[in-house]
């Protein structure tokens, strides 16, 4: 078990902790935060639509990350797996991650266009 735990680090580095960061619960929560801070209904609806698209991108990546995790597990357990096998997997998931990043960054200006400068930081305030 401890041995396996050591390799979870690699898995974590590989996927970027994607299940945590892209978790549905988390994404839904962030929508709630923006709903709270955006004062106008129309802007809020638009922002929610954009966030939905971002969430969809994130979920798509999550699925890919889960597949990568399974592949990594197989590679780790396989005594014959080569460095090349691992590097190929790392490259694949990185490429997919970068595509997701690009999509989300593309949507960011639209999201901000529906959120006022003074509303934006409120979404990040700590809750007591």
């Amino acid at each position: 078990m401890l041995w396996a735990a050591l390799f979870l680090v690699g898995l974590y580095f590989l996927t970027g902790g994607s299940n945590v960061f892209l978790g549905e619960w988390l994404i839904k929560d962030s929508k709630n935060r923006f709903k709270e801070v955006i004062q106008e209904k129309e802007r809020s609806q638009k922002a929610m639509g954009i966030l939905d698209e971002m969430i969809r991108d994130a979920k798509d990546f999550n699925q890919e990350a889960e597949k990568a995790e399974k592949k990594l597990e197989k590679l780790v357990k396989d005594y014959r797996s080569t460095r090349g096998d691992f590097n190929q997997l790392f490259s694949e998931i990185q490429e997919k991650g970068e595509r997701t990043i690009a999509k989300i960054l593309d949507r960011l200006p639209d999201l901000k266009s529906n959120i006022l400068r003074e509303e934006w930081p409120k979404a990040f305030e700590e809750r007591k």
């Binding site: 041995w3 970027g16 994404i27 889960e66 590097n87 991650g97 990043i101 934006w120």
Partner: protein
């Protein structure tokens, strides 16, 4: 063995970092206030468990010692990298909070993060292969069981 082994802490759920997770996750924000099993407990306890585990499977003391040393070294390096990645995660937090952050700001931070992540993956692979070289296929299977 899934990424769910990465434990969600109270910190992760903080509102400040919320948006980081929406955007930052795709930047491979691996170390953002999260905690893996490897980071659990103090290093001394972890090493003691590791030594016990290896000694149980590897009967050759010399090879067992090598494997233990490699594991400990890797664990130390991993801790350092997690620490560095956490610092980079904080940079993302600042970028996310700033309404005027540009795409370039994100991309520069991402490039730094990617570099560090790739270093982590290289170290991971080096350690895995070095450790595997010390064991037989049967021992490997037993250790991963």
């Amino acid at each position: 063995m899934k990424a769910t082994a990465v434990k969600i802490t109270g910190k992760i759920m903080s509102r400040t970092t919320l948006f980081i997770f929406l955007l930052g996750m795709v930047f491979f924000l691996t170390a953002c206030a999260s905690k893996t099993k490897v980071q659990e407990g103090d290093p001394a306890t972890l090493r003691a468990k590791w030594t016990k585990e290896v000694s149980k499977v590897i009967k050759d003391p010399e090879r067992a010692e090598k494997l233990i040393t490699l594991g400990v070294r890797y664990e130390e390096k991993s801790r350092e990298l997690f620490s560095e990645l956490k610092n980079l995660a904080r940079e993302f937090q600042v970028i996310n909070r700033n309404y005027d952050s540009t795409r370039g700001d994100y991309e520069r931070a991402l490039a730094k993060f990617k570099e560090k992540k790739n270093e982590a993956l290289r170290q991971y692979l080096d350690a895995l292969i070095a450790m595997r070289e010390q064991v037989t296929p049967e021992e490997w299977k037993a250790l991963l069981g």
